[in-house]
């Protein structure tokens, strides 16, 4: 299903994330505030994304996927860790480097209703970055470029004169994609980019993202909770739980042969589109709920809910180990 990419093992990844942590302070009191703890939204995450690759980042709500994406985009300043984009640390960038980074790295948001400024016409939304970055100073050529971008994203160029509220969700999401493409980026963070759309529109937008990847040689970080979309679109998948990556592998390998108990639980929760199979299937929900990220469990964060947990899981925090070729698992009990 996935197109194998020509890759050289020696090439430096486009994006390297090292020990990324984002802790949001929780404070109490109105006048005299004191810190009572941290929400450890992201707590030590490492991964690489190669040029031209799509990495899926999956996990349930609140596991820190979106925060990871926001840190990469420098919409948040992480508490610790490094994010190297093409070898440069995003967080140490000065103004001039940052302007360049903004052109090379873009984002597509989840909600097509709130990601477009309702007071601006579609054409202005897309042409604004081109104008601000001085890519195309000539107004007429800029208008042509906007029309091109709209048709590349499957919209009639006449939509340039419309306001976002005059369009459907799918059309708006295409506008969001066109805006992200306006600066010819190399890397796009798709933050739940299709999650808010109907299934039929979702398929169209996923196909559009694939086409764009081939056409412009894009690299994606695809954040999602819909596993079938991820399997279709991504070459590699990382599974997050409570701010940490628990498993990372090539897409087919991860879905066919999940090793971490959390990934297994996650995959077993995906319904099978056949009522007979689904009725006869034994479903064992994972006991308990996701613990609070303010006070995460010691050792392996999954141990209170894990069917395989042993005493050692309470103490030592498991590290990602390459148990199979290119298949990394953070679990001390799996071999």
């Amino acid at each position: 299903m996935n197109v194998p990419l020509p890759e050289s093992a020696t090439e430096r990844p486009l994006l390297e994330v090292r020990g990324l942590a984002m802790h949001f302070p929780v404070s109490e009191g109105i006048v005299l505030t004191r810190k009572i703890g941290d929400v450890k939204a992201v707590d030590g995450v490492d991964f690489d994304i190669k040029r031209g690759e799509t990495l899926g980042l999956v996990g349930e709500s609140g596991c820190g996927k979106t925060t990871t994406g926001r840190c990469i985009l420098r919409l948040e300043r992480p508490t610790a860790g490094e994010i190297l984009f093409d070898g440069q640390d995003v967080n140490r960038m000065e103004r001039r480097d940052l302007v360049v980074l903004r052109r090379r790295m873009q984002v597509i948001f989840q909600d097509p209703y709130s990601s477009l400024n309702p007071r601006m016409k579609v054409g202005d939304i897309i042409s604004e970055p081109i104008k601000v970055h001085g890519v195309e100073p000539d107004a007429r050529r800029r208008r042509d470029k906007v029309r091109d971008l709209l048709s590349v994203c499957g919209l009639d160029p006449k939509f340039a004169d419309r306001y976002p509220h005059e369009m459907s969700g799918g059309q708006r999401q295409r506008v969001g994609i066109a805006r992200a493409l306006a600066l010819d980026p190399e890397f796009i963070v798709c933050d739940e980019a299709v999650s808010a759309l109907d299934v039929s529109i979702q398929a169209q937008v996923v196909n559009l993202l694939e086409d764009l990847r081939e056409r412009f040689g894009l690299t994606y970080l695809f954040i999602a909770h819909d596993l079938s979309v991820v399997r279709h679109l991504c070459q590699r998948v990382a599974v997050m739980y409570l701010g940490r990556i628990v498993e990372m592998a090539d897409s087919d390998e991860l879905f066919d042969n999940p090793l971490h108990p959390y990934t297994q639980a996650l995959l077993s929760a995906v319904p099978i589109p056949d009522p007979r199979v689904e009725a006869g299937r034994e479903f064992r929900p994972t006991p308990g709920e996701v613990p609070s990220p303010i006070n995460p469990p010691s050792g392996c964060v999954f141990h209170p809910r894990c069917p395989m947990a042993v005493e050692g899981c309470r103490q030592a925090r498991p590290v990602l180990r390459e148990l199979r070729p290119r298949h990394w698992v953070a679990c001390s009990e799996v071999n």
Binding site: M105, V107, P118, P129, G154, K158, D161, R179, Q204
Partner: protein, 302 residues
Amino acid sequence: MTIIAPNRVAADLIDEPTDRKRSTLDVALNFMKRQPLGSFGLLIVVVMFAAGVLAEWIAPFDPEENDFSAMMEAPNLVHWLGTDQLGRDIFSRLVFGARTALIVGFSAAFMGGIIGLVLGVSSAYFGGWFDLLFQRVLDVLMAFPLIILALAVVSVFGTGVFNVILAITIPLIPRCGRVVRASALSVREVPYVDAARALGFSHARIVLRHMVPNVIAPFLILLSAFVGQAILAEASLSYLGLGVQEPVPAWGLMLQGGAEEYATTAPWIAVFPGVAIMLTVLGISLFGDALRDAIDPKLRDR
């Protein structure tokens, strides 16, 4: 769930947008049909503007000229709204007073409103210590009622049209900043602001182009209320003798002086400027309300 669509032709193409260009006349007629009260307000504002701008041509008499042969005359064919105790034509003074009210009311409301708007949105956008400091300064300014703060400013800078404008502008800033900040706080969390940041736009552009236009609806309501308040404040200051000075015609001044003394014998001296103030404030409020509905793209075509 299947992901692969049978063909890759975008279904969104089917819905072709229609070209709709509307003439200014259409827009105006549409506004009148939809906002009858707003149109009434607009009418008052337009009449007032016309009076203020064309005062020299409309007023039949010099507003500052005394005619001692025609003092305290009741409304008649020569002096349409009568004359005051100094024999000055009330209609002419009302027309010229409209100019004063307009200059002071609009300048103060717009200056106060726009400064408050930019500060309020910036405060919400930057947050942190800037926001905290800004809020405390507003608290201090808000502790004084509008007219008291205006009096304090006038007592520092003195009277006269420009100082009256300044005196009314200052107390309006915190009143605007507070409300605007509240709406801007919710706008800051909306993804299109994040998108603007991710696109590398400057702080000024994000505040002015992406946040300010989206708090404009509450701002316009405020602004229309401010114009009314500013006109009232100017009238009050003038009435108290701390605003516009005689013999410049101003509605507040016209209520002062003889108006009280002759309230029973010559009520027209006080009634007409009073009615003028009331109608103006009402008209501006009605128009502001309608304008808010008309300016919102979501409500516009309904």
